[in-house]
């Protein structure tokens, strides 16, 4: 169906694809795995005409083809769903789907016949959406369906899906895999780019593994396993499970009593929640995203207007409801935010500047009468310490944070928060979009911090992560705690039920 031969692509100094060879057989689901920056997306963007290769050939159905733009790829029956959806939010589903391939004449846009065609495709592939709904009103899962319909509407025979499950909840992932199997049954070919090995094993027929811009192996899925794939991806043995000693639990460091958080528009997102986090333990919060986790963590970190909060947040026996975010940090609360681009980093600032956020206003970072000037030397020293201790790559404090991979950005943030010796750590989605190698490292760091007596509250959408790291696990649903389970004995099904039904 699709063959890449000796594809090479260079971005400046970086060799993103180095003589890449991939063969995708028709009617299969083909997984391309590799860490961030391994060149998976680049190779597929070349196949879709977003980039042009410096050298090498693309064959479609056995013939060498010139693909210079997405327009050419579409004409050859190739469709692509990007990791960040390519949808115009203000337009309707139908408008998005027909864009660039409009039915009717060029003087009259026929959205009615388009809507009929879309309904028919929805039916055929069980992708329910309302063609007349504006995209901005859709959930992420629905938006993904629109992307799939967009490709199907253009008669794509080959669909390239870039990290399609990154934005989906565990239940939506199951549903999504059902859709992919249906497509395969209808004769479509699917390429799925991912770094989640459990998904590769669950859905694909064949796997191509990439590392550092090169293809390092290709196997039949039935002949391989997670450990082997991880070793090929990272280039060394990887511990997939977290190893941790039993928790040595002390007094309550953070206590939450009857906490409710209401948004500015009046919606109650956190509903009468009470719990404790003691020193030396990791308390996990599992739940489908959007069930109040974000608001809970932001309320604890001091990022919510006190007027929107009822109940009590208590640190060391003191109520801190009205204490500012800065003063909370001074009390020993650290926060690793779920969205590192929005809350965690200033992307255009360099690593050194990012490494002092939160302590930028006080000695030793500032000098002269306390805090008149920034001390460049101190900033550089701190940045270097963090970069070395947390293996942030490339090791150059002068680079802008934007130029780092997601995993390295996350390591920088974790290193920064680690450096202040927090008593309470609030951490959300610590390994979202992070490579396997870095995930292992981040997990070990969190356990190490716990063993030093830090009280950790961990929110994660990855069920496996939150169950393997936590000492106690709270399951939230609709802003309430649906139950507490022992992560050592609870099954994923049990937790999954609490997450969705709330009891």
């Amino acid at each position: 169906m699709l063959e890449l031969r000796e594809i090479t692509k260079r971005f400046g100094d970086v060799l993103a694809n180095d003589h890449v060879n991939i063969v995708v057989k028709p009617g299969t689901i083909h997984a391309i795995v590799g860490e961030n920056g391994a060149g998976k997306s680049t190779a597929m963007r070349i196949a879709y005409g977003f980039y042009t290769a410096d050298s090498g050939e693309i064959l479609v159905d056995g013939q060498v083809r010139e693909i210079r733009s997405p327009h050419d790829a579409i004409a050859l029956g190739i469709g692509m769903v990007h990791q960040h959806f390519m949808l115009v939010e203000t337009m309707t589903v139908a408008e998005n789907i027909v864009l660039g391939a409009e039915p009717g004449s060029s003087f009259a846009l026929d959205l009615k016949s388009a809507a009929a065609q879309i309904r028919q495709l929805s039916e055929e592939f069980k992708l329910a959406v309302n063609p007349n709904e504006p995209v901005e009103h859709l959930s992420v899962g629905q938006q993904q369906r629109v992307e799939l319909l967009k490709a199907l509407y253009r008669h794509a025979k080959l669909l390239i899906l870039d990290e399609p499950t990154a934005v989906l909840t565990p239940l939506e992932v199951e549903e999504f895999f059902g859709i992919l199997r249906r497509m395969r049954a209808q004769g479509k070919t699917v390429i799925i780019i991912t770094h989640k090995l459990s998904e590769v094993l669950a859905i694909s027929d064949e796997v191509t593994v990439m590392r550092d811009g090169k293809v390092v192996g290709g196997v039949q899925t039935k002949d391989t396993n997670a450990a082997e794939l991880a070793r090929m991806m990272v280039g060394r043995e990887v511990l997939l499970r977290v190893e941790k000693p039993d928790a040595d639990v002390g007094r309550a460091a953070l206590e939450v009593r009857n906490l409710s958080v209401t948004t500015a528009t009046g919606a109650k997102r956190v509903d009468n929640i009470s719990f404790q986090v003691r020193t030396g333990e990791i308390v996990g919060i599992a739940g489908v995203e959007g069930n109040g986790q974000t608001e809970l963590i932001e309320a604890l970190a001091g990022l919510v207007e006190p007027a929107q909060i009822t109940g009590e947040i208590i640190i060391d026996g003191k109520n801190i409801n009205a204490v500012s975010a800065r003063a909370r940090r001074e009390l020993g609360i650290s926060h690793i935010p779920e969205d590192r681009h929005r809350r965690g980093l200033l992307l255009d600032f360099n690593l050194a500047e990012n490494s002092i956020l939160g302590v930028h206003y006080r000695p030793p970072i500032t000098r002269l009468a306390g805090n008149v000037f920034l001390d460049d030397g101190a900033i550089r020293r701190r940045a270097t310490e963090i970069i070395e201790a947390f293996d942030v790559r490339p090791r150059n404090a002068a680079l802008p944070a934007r130029s780092l991979s997601g995993g390295n950005q996350q390591k920088l943030i974790i290193g920064r928060e680690y450096h202040v010796n927090p008593k309470v750590l609030l951490v959300s989605q610590p390994t979202r979009g992070v490579d396997i190698g870095a995930i292992e490292f981040i997990h070990r760091q969190l356990v190490k911090l716990r063993d030093q007596g830090c009280a950790i509250l961990l929110v994660s959408a990855e069920l496996e992560e939150v169950t393997s790291l936590s000492d106690r696990l709270l399951v939230v649903h609709d802003g309430k705690i649906a139950g507490e389970v022992d992560p050592k004995v609870a099954t994923l099904e049990e937790i999954g039920l609490l997450m969705t039904r709330g009891h």
Binding site: S69, P70, L99, K150
Partner: protein, 307 residues
């Protein structure tokens, strides 16, 4: 006060709003495609000067008589198109900052007509007076009908044709359009060039419709008022038309008020104060409404294909 609000006020509103409507609708095409059109002013000036000069030449040198204003109108259109082409190449091909290159064009167009009128007409910035019967039609009814047809046509193009859908998508999220196989730069060129033509015609109407010659800086900020009307009209054709009529109305009122309205003490209100009215309204409208009016999301951002 009764002397101010007369039937002729309506006629004058339509007349004064016409160049604004043309320029604002042009700006609509450009901004909906994602290119800021701060250069409307410059394009109007180019259109105004060229229209007056071409009309004069067609009349005196070619003896085209009554047809000469139409040739002039075409000249204005082409001049707007030419300026828009320069602007489009710098913003789209070379990804220059749109505000800076727009401002450069506006400054350029303050000087060039003066230079050319010196060269051609030995004057210091004006073109020669045209005879009254060699101007564009000024009947408010004819103009009103033309404008209504134009607005309806633009509305249809924007919302009911594939071109309009693509144009809007490129202004909202060019990467999505690109991924869908739509050429972002082709649509942005179309948007900016359409803007140039319409602004050129708007300028032409100033010099060979409302007046009978080009004078230095005769647009007096109308390009910017058109831009304000576009924002006030939320980048939609009908609302933009209404916004232009509002601005045209204030200008008409300010003209009629001169000498007609007196201070309680019996003295005239200084004319400078009355002339301020449309501009003050522009500021008030923008300060009050700009926040609630959502621009096309990719407005002002050059599209970079490869990071």
């Amino acid at each position: 006060m009764r002397d101010v609000f007369t039937l002729s006020l309506i006629a004058s509103t339509i007349r004064l709003a016409t160049p604004l409507v043309l320029a604002a609708l042009g700006g609509l095409f450009s901004e909906r495609s994602g290119v800021i059109n701060i250069a409307l002013e410059g394009k109007m000036l180019a259109g105004a000067f060229t229209a007056a000069a071409v009309t004069y030449a067609a009349d005196t040198k070619l003896g085209m008589g009554n047809a000469s204003p139409w040739v002039g109108l075409l000249g204005g259109l082409v001049a707007g198109l030419f300026i828009a082409f320069i602007y489009a190449v710098s913003c789209i091909r070379f990804k220059a900052d749109q505000v800076v290159s727009g401002a450069a064009i506006n400054i350029l167009m303050l000087g060039i007509p003066g230079f050319l009128s010196g060269a051609f007409f030995l004057s210091s910035g004006s073109t020669p007076q045209l005879p009254k019967d060699h101007l564009l039609p000024q009947s408010p009814v004819v103009i009103a009908i033309t404008i209504l047809i134009l607005v309806a046509l633009i509305w249809y193009v924007l919302y009911k044709t594939p071109f309009g859908l693509r144009l809007r998508s490129v202004g909202e999220k060019p990467e999505a359009a690109d991924a869908a196989g739509v050429s972002v730069s082709k649509l942005r060129y179309s948007g900016v060039l359409l803007a140039g033509m319409l602004a050129g015609i708007g300028g032409a109407y100033l010099s060979i419709g409302q007046s009978s010659l080009f004078t230095r800086n005769m647009t007096a900020g109308r390009g910017f008022i058109a831009l304000a009307a576009l924002i006030f009209g939320k980048w939609r054709p009908v609302q933009t038309l209404l916004a232009c009529l509002l601005f045209g109305f204030t200008e008409a009122v300010s003209i009629q008020m001169q000498g007609a309205v007196k201070l309680p003490s019996g003295e005239d209100i200084p004319v400078q104060f009355i002339n301020m009215v449309p501009y003050v309204l522009t500021i008030v409208v923008l300060a009050g409404f700009i926040g609630s009016s959502r621009p096309p999301r990719a407005l002002g951002v050059p599209y970079q294909k490869e990071k």
